[in-house]
């Protein structure tokens, strides 16, 4: 039981992600997550505004069930499987973020500075999350995939567009963490 409650090392997580990809393909579908943003738009009636969303969302019921599973799995994990969210961070990371004004760095999965109560009281806190969301939704659709679809499925099946997309992910992520985070905190 001890194993269940301890954090899992990269050499456990990596292979189990590959196992998830394997099962997804074995069940007859292409592994990915970000197409669901589109499907949810279609379900919300976006087809009335743009032909782009005129699709039969029922054909993606398998992916929607996967999403429901992700949500349930998140609640199960946070409620029962992670008694301690402490992360063993590099001391440099801790120092850097502390200098930027982050508190309790690494004591939980999500920093209060971004995921805390600020979102109710400060426009900045709300904007950080919603703008990030828009970039995630727009970017994954423009690029044609996310970490699951491009970085894992696309790279492992040796597809050139996925290599370009992953280079893009890192350009964006490096700009975000090296330039934007120090600018907004």
């Amino acid at each position: 039981m001890d194993f269940i409650f301890q954090p899992w090392a990269w050499y456990i997580g990596g292979p189990l992600i590959a196992l998830s990809l394997f099962l997804y393909f074995y069940f007859g579908r292409d592994f990915g997550a970000s197409t669901n943003f589109e499907t949810l738009c279609t379900m919300a009636g976006a087809g009335k505004v743009s032909d782009y969303f005129k699709k039969d969302w029922k054909q993606r019921d398998f992916a929607l069930l996967f999403v429901v599973g992700l949500i349930i799995g998140g609640f199960i994990s946070s409620s029962y499987l992670i008694p301690n969210q402490t992360i063993d961070l590099n001391p440099t990371t801790v120092q850097e973020l502390t200098d930027l004004g982050f508190s309790n760095v690494g004591n939980q999965y999500f920093p209060d500075e971004i995921f805390g109560d600020d979102i109710y009281t400060s426009l900045k806190g709300f904007l950080i999350l919603i703008i990030s969301g828009v970039l995630i939704g727009f970017g994954t659709r423009y690029a044609g995939g996310c970490t699951s679809g491009h970085a894992i499925t696309g790279l492992s099946s040796l597809q050139l567009p996925s290599l370009l997309a992953v280079i893009g992910f890192f350009i964006g992520g490096i700009i975000a963490t090296w330039l934007i985070i120090p600018l907004i905190f």
Binding site: F62, I136, R141
Partner: protein
């Protein structure tokens, strides 16, 4: 519907894997983009290497899907600007919020309201893309 219930179970499993290996934590992605830790590179790199072997088994036909069909991953849409520039936009959102597409849904179970806001943004972003996709360069 019932035959797809396996995807629901797989979703639960995948969410637990991501949660337990800390691959949904804001700090883990911050560390990754600052090259201060091996953890996320190990997870993603490990997943890619093992998946590459699995893909070869699919390609050679040694493993078929549940219905006995050959497994062929769909080719990704091509386009230099769309993949690099779209990827960069996604990377910006990922780097700031620490959320990518699958984890957004998992994070609902950890930080409900912030995750709802990110998700609402993501749907808005996908909607905007749909509106202007024909005008964008590939």
């Amino acid at each position: 519907m019932m035959k797809n219930i396996k995807f629901l179970i797989l979703g639960i499993f995948f969410a637990i894997v991501l949660s337990k290996s800390q691959a949904i934590s804001w700090y883990r992605f911050y560390e990754m983009f600052k090259f201060q830790s091996f953890h996320m590179f190990g997870i993603i790199g490990g997943a890619v290497v093992i998946s590459a072997i699995i893909m070869q088994l699919f390609k050679s036909g040694k493993i078929k899907d549940i219905n006995g069909n050959k497994i062929v991953p769909k080719p990704k849409k091509k386009g230099f600007i769309s993949t690099i520039f779209g990827g960069t936009l996604f990377g910006l959102g990922w780097g700031i919020s620490g959320a990518c597409a699958a984890p957004v849904f998992v994070i609902l179970g950890f930080k409900l309201v912030p995750a709802i806001i990110i998700l609402a943004g993501a749907l808005l972003g996908a909607f905007l893309y749909g509106l202007i996709s024909k005008k964008l360069p590939n």
